[in-house]
């Protein structure tokens, strides 16, 4: 696996508070990485750095081996990174189709929406690429969907726009058991298509089901970086709880 995304000695301070200290890890192509840690470990700051919301105080990111600096969210999106937040970045009062294409609408040269085309693509993505059951129309308002269905729409958006890395921030925290199972299967399916994922989570058991590697953080630093073959769930738990 070649390294798709790398963090090099990244530190991030907010005034006197140091949120990240000398953090380095990588994400390979088609690799599923579990970013684990307790509250305050620095996971969210790391997610915000990778998605371009925060800029590092020190250190840098590289994509495909090239040093890069994300100054805003769209920079990371252009690099093929899609962040799917715990409270997914969708608009409840808009339809599934409009959410999938939000900010990247298909339009004619005057800016008018090519609605039929967008609807057909949304239908195709929902039925074939992601397969969300319980939704019979891409015109359904997102506000009428369950938490898991919303996550799936956010993933459908990433799939359609051919993202290379999915950053899933606490993706299972609001999901039922069945929804969680389906989401984790979706991550594995995307891995088979060479899409990498970073699962940022408290839940070691969920991460253990699908991740190839685990990066454990504590107090803003990396305390463990290990392949699944070289560790056990007990060891991971010890690192998260005791460090």
């Amino acid at each position: 696996m070649s390294n798709l995304l790398e963090l090099h000695n990244i530190s991030k301070s907010f005034g006197a508070l140091t949120a990240l200290r000398n953090l380095s890890f990588h994400i390979g192509e088609g690799e599923v990485v579990g970013l684990l840690g307790d509250n305050g470990a620095g996971k969210s700051t790391t997610v915000n750095l990778i998605s371009g919301i925060h800029k590092p105080t020190e250190g840098y990111l590289s994509v495909d081996g090239k040093k890069t600096a994300f100054t805003c969210r769209s920079d990371s999106a252009d690099a093929g990174i899609e962040t799917i937040y715990q409270h997914t970045a969708l608009v409840d009062s808009l339809s599934i189709t409009r959410n999938i294409f939000m900010g990247r609408e298909l339009t004619d040269r005057f800016g008018f929406l090519r609605q039929a085309e967008m609807r057909a693509i949304a239908m195709d993505v929902l039925q074939n690429a992601v397969h969300i059951s319980g939704i019979d129309s891409p015109d359904t308002l997102v506000g009428n969907l369950s938490g898991g269905q919303k996550q799936a729409v956010a993933i459908a958006r990433a799939v359609y726009f051919k993202k290379r890395v999915l950053l899933l921030d606490e993706p299972t925290s609001a999901l039922s058991v069945r929804e969680t199972e389906a989401l984790l299967n979706q991550v594995l399916k995307l891995k088979a298509e060479n899409v990498s994922s970073v699962l940022v989570t408290h839940n070691i058991y969920h991460a253990y089901q699908v991740c190839d590697r685990f990066v454990i953080m504590s107090h803003g630093t990396k305390v463990f970086d290990v392949d699944k073959a070289d560790t056990t769930i007990n060891q991971l738990t010890e690192y998260v709880v005791l460090t």
Partner: protein, 339 residues
């Protein structure tokens, strides 16, 4: 492949069972449409049964309605787009008067109305941009900023022109274009219909409209996906200001003069029309047809009460009741998560 989420299929079966009535209720502005149609049926039936006592269908009454609707319609369209983007503009009533005074006094100074009117609209747009800049730059509630605007521009009218009316005496072509008739239909009414169609396409068929809904519906999500929400809001503020000026042009062309106090309270009526039309006070929800139906409903109710010779203070009571009922209804709809 395991389907994502097999356990929440409720909307499908419910949708399949919906009756036509429920389907209309579920559509944007569907409920207000039903209320409006019911009121029309009652009014038309009343007018046919009592043609001498209730002159709802008389040409004079229909003309009055057609002349009254466009002014509030323009104000409400501008205010509505801004509300969907998640902001308010309380200054539009004052801006409406200020820009009308500006236009009328320019015409009085010998400038063509075809130049003065665009200058009035430009002034409205600039005031809207100023409101937007202050709101966004300082992170203030637009309610407060535009409350300041309401008082400031009301005072500016008096500073600029004193408390006297301004005559508006444009070229006859201008008057015909904005207050004449075409096939018996008032020109201003034709203008508002054109604006409604134009705004419908802008808001519901154009990329900008999608960004307005996204900005008002979930600003964080809109920004996360790369939408410049500040820019969207600024444009919406500019539209609100510009449409206030357009309302001023239509009103001034109709009456032939501007009264310094004529816009007082119109901003609240415009917001009321939006709320009645199904717009959420939290932003992100609503439709252009809903706004227009809200305006039509306010004017129909007012007209009916006038035809029934109700004393003036009844009007406000009925409009107030309508607003509160509409707000309760919208709140219930929002809680249910329906359009």
């Amino acid at each position: 492949m395991t389907p994502i989420l097999a356990d929440s299929a409720a909307p499908r079966s419910r949708t399949q069972r919906q009756s036509t009535l429920k389907q209309i209720m579920g559509m944007p502005a569907g409920a207000i449409f039903l209320v409006f149609m019911a009121l029309q049926i009652v009014c038309i039936a009343g007018a046919l049964l009592y043609p001498n006592e209730f002159r709802y269908l008389s040409p004079q009454n229909l003309t009055i309605l057609m002349k009254a609707i466009p002014v509030l319609g323009c104000l409400a369209l501008g205010a509505g787009v801004l509300m969907i983007a998640g902001e308010f503009d309380l200054s539009i009533g004052s801006v409406y008067t200020f820009t009308a005074v500006l236009m009328a006094s320019l015409v009085g100074a010998g400038i063509s109305a075809f130049v003065a009117a665009p200058l009035g609209i430009l002034a409205g747009v600039l005031i809207g941009l100023l409101n937007g800049q202050i709101t966004i730059r300082f992170g203030l509630p637009s309610f407060i900023v535009t409350l300041g605007g309401l008082l400031f521009w009301r005072g500016a009218v008096l500073l600029y022109n004193g408390a006297v009316q301004v005559r508006f005496d444009p070229e006859p072509v201008f008057t015909s274009l904005f207050s004449g008739t075409l096939f018996g239909i008032n020109a201003a009414f034709i203008w508002i219909v054109l604006f409604v169609v134009g705004f419908h396409f802008l808001l519901h068929r154009h990329r900008f409209g999608n960004h307005v809904f996204a900005t008002g519906g979930n600003r964080g999500a809109a920004e996360a996906i790369g939408i410049n929400t500040n820019r969207v809001k600024l444009i919406a503020f500019a539209i609100a200001g510009g449409m206030a000026a357009v309302a001023g042009i239509l009103a001034t062309a109709r009456v032939g003069s501007v009264q310094p106090g004529q816009g007082a309270g119109l901003e609240l009526q415009a917001i009321a029309a939006c709320v009645i039309g199904g717009l959420s006070l939290r932003g992100g929800r609503g439709s252009i047809i809903g706004i227009f139906l809200g305006v039509l409903l306010i004017h129909t109710m007012t007209d009916v009460l006038l035809l029934l010779r109700a004393p003036g203070f009844y009007l406000d009571m009925f409009i107030a009741t309508l607003i509160v009922l509409a707000a309760i209804f919208n709140h219930l709809i929002e809680r249910r998560g329906v359009a």
